[in-house]
């Protein structure tokens, strides 16, 4: 009986999304366990926070103020550039994309399966999180939400062997796909020919092609480029920019992918209308 039931469940969950409510209900029972399991790690962190010496705090404060000043300066410039960008796009009669909204989520120190690079964060569908949302940290892309439960969600890191992310080389716009390798700080770019214009030190940014990740966020830095005479593709490896091992706060991003039309006379048409317009010759 139980075996039949579990086989039925397996097939249903593999083929269809109907079992998601059941998983959400069961997750209410398992969430306290996750919180309990992550307690020791959190407490250690808070203890080390309280015993940090006054001097160290002062030093850190000074350093943070300096970086804040630098960032504020950069932001000033960015604002001007953004305005300029919009103006130029108006000149070109083009559409522009809205900025992204973010939510800060904290990591639960929970290990799901050691051979998978999946982490659990403490924000779920109650905060509007949904699957296929990109997740960032302060340095770059971390991964994407693969499953959102009521009070937590699971994030697949870009280093997971099942994960692939469309990227482009920031220097020249060469597009390719970066795969996870299963190693903690390694990405692989298997689809580039031997003569591709890519060198160690190149920054890879998201190309925005897959529809999941917004364009222009840093992903990784190329650190190894090797060719073998018997292979027609190069072996290229990159190190993720995000601190996948050490970050505890992540940003979950809502990216508005519908472009906003700048033409004032035309109302921005709803999505269905757009599609029908495209369908007409």
């Amino acid at each position: 009986m139980a075996i039949l039931a579990s086989l039925a469940l397996l097939v249903t969950d593999f083929r269809t999304p109907h079992l998601h409510p059941l998983r959400a209900v069961l997750s209410i029972a398992t969430h306290p366990l996750q919180l309990l399991a992550s307690l020791p790690g959190d407490n250690l962190k808070s203890i080390s926070g309280t015993v940090l010496s006054y001097l160290e705090l002062q030093k850190e404060n000074r350093r943070l103020k300096e970086t804040q000043l630098i960032n504020a300066g950069k932001l000033l410039k960015l604002e001007a550039l953004e305005k300029e960008n919009i103006r130029l796009r108006v000149l070109l009669e083009n559409s522009f994309r809205l900025g992204e909204q973010v939510l800060i989520a904290e990591l639960l120190s929970v290990k799901l399966a050691p051979y998978e690079h999946t982490v659990v964060v403490n924000k779920g569908t109650r905060f509007g999180v949904h699957p296929e949302q990109p997740v960032l940290d302060a340095n770059g892309i971390v991964g994407q939400v693969i499953r959102a439960l009521p009070s937590s969600s699971e994030v697949m890191l870009i280093t997971d062997p099942d994960h692939a992310i469309p990227v482009e080389v920031n220097r020249n716009g060469l597009r390719t796909i970066a795969f996870g390798t299963g190693l903690p700080n390694r990405l692989q770019l298997p689809f580039l020919a031997k003569n591709a214009d890519i060198v160690p030190g190149d920054l890879l940014v998201t190309s925005g092609l897959g529809g999941v990740f917004p364009a222009g966020y840093p992903v990784a830095v190329v650190d190894k480029f090797e060719t073998r005479p018997d292979k027609s593709f190069a072996n290229i490896y990159a190190t993720p920019k995000a601190q996948l091992e050490t970050s505890r706060e992540f940003l979950i991003v809502w990216s508005d992918t519908n472009p906003v039309f700048l033409d004032k006379d035309k109302e921005p048409p709803p999505a269905e209308q757009l599609e029908t317009e495209h369908a007409k010759p």
Binding site: A2, I3, S6, A8, L26, Y115
Partner: protein, 162 residues
């Protein structure tokens, strides 16, 4: 000895919850891939010790919760935990006579079979090859069986569950 102690289900739930917490916690950083399947060990113990109280369906429910907890396909762990429980209950008379070492061998083959099923199901879902460390929990689980066995027996004797 009383034939039925009403508090037994409470102990089942409590020990299983502890096992689930151990399962997802990294107790000693750096040893994550060696973390055995604590829930399976606890299930096997209760199935051997109290086969008339602890059934296949309890194991099935625990497996479902484990699936949600570790974000696997629903039914994956439910299936193998039900199988563990079934085989342990079938063999419980023989297993009780076994010395601990022989029980370890039984647990080892149980876990190996279960992990092979998981291996098959995981490989169906994803194209990547699972690393060798996927199989470590089988070995550590069998090695830690005497520990789990004596701990749970101590609990059972202290709580006078039969």
């Amino acid at each position: 000895m009383p034939s039925h102690s009403p508090s037994a289900p409470l102990y089942f739930i409590a020990t299983l919850a502890c096992a689930m917490i151990l399962r997802i916690m990294d107790l000693f950083p750096g040893t994550v891939e060696f973390n055995p399947d604590w829930i399976a060990l606890v299930l096997i113990y209760w199935s051997i010790a109290l086969p008339e109280r602890f059934g296949v369906f309890t194991a099935f429910t625990a497996g479902l919760l484990t699936d949600v907890l570790t974000s696997h396909l629903l039914g994956q762990y439910a299936l193998i935990y039900a199988l563990y429980s079934y085989f342990s209950i079938r063999q419980h008379r023989r297993l009780r006579q076994f010395p601990l070492i022989q029980q370890c061998v039984f647990v080892f083959f149980c876990l190996l079979g279960g992990q092979s099923l998981i291996f098959g199901m995981e490989s169906m879902q994803a194209a990547n090859r699972l690393p060798l460390s996927f199989w470590y929990p089988v070995l550590t689980g069998a090695l830690l069986w005497p520990l789990v066995f004596s701990a749970l027996r101590a609990i059972r004797v202290l709580a006078r569950i039969s």
